[in-house]
């Protein structure tokens, strides 16, 4: 049962997986809280699936065109940010139905990604890795990237905490206080995009949305404030990731899906508990 923890002491890949789980939990709990309370999980899901398009395009350009400086994560970041801004713009302008735009970004991104990976010599077998992730393959370089993403996300959230809180709680009142509600909304989607990229390294693009929302949803049943919810969500996310790693390591199960099943079980348990259990006057 505890083979993973023994391996984490000696094996660099297991140790990297441990650090990746802890690092990703920080931004996951922080941004996941906003995703849940602002009810934009469907947007986050659209962004996460569109990431595959960026991953595939970067792989193709790297191999077929010889752009060796372009790594898959660069493509993922570009696709995530672009799709978040497009969905945000559509959502604010309301010239197109929001769910239609999200569905379009979602499916077009995935389709483009699959075609790019198919056309990239030697990369088509990596499709499952991108779709469902593998935390045990996180490199030292990726850890630095995760740490950088954490720093950006937490700095922005710390700086604009009260503004984000006001926009999520009562958008009309925030507008009356002359807050630039639309700008904060786009910034929130941008943070979501960055977090999606970080999470996709751990659980893959398909399962990102579950890890982004389930720990935050569990935390939301206990917390009395947004700050508390962020802390609880980060701790729960770390617990789910570490439990998933512990359970899956010895029988060599896919880690991403195991983490998600642990998070799903936790969510079901908290959802089934009676309300008095969460009394938080």
């Amino acid at each position: 049962m505890f083979d993973f923890w023994q391996a984490a002491l000696t094996h660099p890949l297991a140790r990297n997986a441990l650090f990746a789980a802890l690092l990703v939990s920080l931004c996951c709990g922080t941004v996941g809280t906003y995703v849940v309370v602002r009810r934009i999980s469907y947007i986050a899901a659209g962004v996460s699936h569109c990431v595959l398009g960026g991953l595939g395009a970067a792989c193709y350009l790297n191999v077929a065109w010889g752009w060796t400086w372009l790594k898959p994560v660069h493509g993922a970041l570009a696709a995530a940010l672009l799709s978040a801004i497009v969905i945000g713009w559509v959502s604010l302008r309301r010239r197109e139905r929001e769910d239609t735009a999200i569905s379009a970004v979602w499916s077009v991104g995935m389709a483009a990604g699959i075609l790019f990976l198919y056309a990239t010599p030697g990369y088509s077998q990596d499709l499952m890795g991108y779709l469902f992730g593998n935390i045990l393959l996180v490199t030292n370089q990726s850890l630095w990237l995760l740490a950088g993403l954490d720093a950006v996300v937490i700095l922005i959230v710390w700086w604009f905490f009260h503004q984000f809180q006001a926009v999520c709680f009562d958008e009309e009142f925030a507008r009356l206080r002359n807050l630039r509600v639309d700008a904060y909304y786009i910034l929130l989607l941008t943070l979501t995009a960055l977090t999606v990229v970080a999470l996709s390294m751990v659980v893959g693009v398909v399962l990102v949305i579950a890890l982004l929302t389930l720990p935050a949803a569990m935390a939301g049943r206990f917390a009395r404030s947004l700050g508390q919810m962020m802390v609880f969500a980060s701790l729960l996310c770390a617990a789910c990731c570490l439990a998933g790693l512990t359970i899956s390591y010895r029988p060599d199960l896919p880690v991403g899906p195991t983490i998600i099943l642990v998070a799903g079980a936790g969510y079901l348990i908290t959802a089934a508990l009676p309300r008095r259990f969460f009394r938080r006057g």
Binding site: A166, R177, L179, G220, R224, Q228, G281
Partner: protein, 246 residues
């Protein structure tokens, strides 16, 4: 002579030009006045507030608030919305809701914002409830928290859009007592459909139903005023009397 708190001159507004929501509205509300606004649903009361807040622009006429364009004066206005439907699971403390009123204006330190929030909660009779979870309060207490949020910047004008809707008689009385305590400290505009509340604030009454007129001064609710408060049996534009100018 001081400028009025709010002045509307020949104001008209309609989302569709064929169906005006408000037309030919003339109002002059002096600083420090307590104005009760009554009228049927769809009569244009909330639209009137949106014009004063600068959220919409009149299609005709002019609106001046504190001798400025409404959008520029917005920071000096406190606003308590109608039917605030909050996510019942939203994790936010009472003191954080009140502090939201400090955002957007001149930057204040966290300590100052905390102190102001405590003072505003004290003013609405909810001192000590700051650390509580907002959604654990009763409907009436939540409404008073929203009044505190409107008061936290010490505004010159306070707009209240049906603050006693969806609360019981005890909460209604508590809110009315808070407003009585505020009377004279600032210009207050109160929209209400509740006779018990309106009867306590008969200083200046405007009836709004596409057109606006000032109801004659009275010290009790008469039958005509009750019709305006409840909105019963009033067709759009069915307003007795001429334009207001108080």
């Amino acid at each position: 002579m001081t400028t009025p708190a709010i002045e509307l001159s020949a104001v008209g507004f309609g989302y569709d030009p064929r169906f005006p929501v408000l037309e030919a509205v003339d109002m002059r509300i002096e600083r420090g006045a307590f104005v009760t606004i009554v009228g049927p649903n769809g009569g244009g009361k909330t639209t009137l507030f949106r014009l004063v807040l600068g959220l919409i622009r009149p299609t005709r006429g002019t609106v001046r608030v504190l001798d400025a364009d409404p959008a520029r004066a917005r920071e000096r206005i406190g606003y308590v919305p109608q039917h605030f439907a909050c996510d019942p699971l939203f994790p936010v403390r009472v003191q954080d809701v009140v502090r939201m009123g400090c955002l957007g204006g001149a930057r204040v330190s966290r300590q100052t914002a905390r102190e102001r929030a405590a003072e505003a909660l004290d003013a609405v009779g909810l001192d000590g409830l700051g650390p509580r979870w907002f959604n654990s309060l009763s409907g009436g207490q939540r409404q008073r928290v929203l009044i505190a949020r409107g008061l936290v910047t010490d505004p010159e004008i306070l707009l209240l859009d049906e603050p006693t809707s969806n609360v019981d008689a005890t909460a209604e009385d508590a809110i009315a007592r808070v407003l009585e305590g505020l009377r004279g400290n600032m210009t207050i505009l109160l929209v209400t459909h509740t006779a018990a509340v309106a009867s306590r604030f008969l200083d200046t009454i405007y009836c709004v139903n596409r057109r606006v007129h000032a109801h004659p001064a009275t010290d009790k609710l008469d039958e005509d005023l009750m019709r305006h408060i409840t909105g019963f049996a009033l067709a759009p534009g069915d307003i007795s009397g001429g334009h207001a100018g108080v």
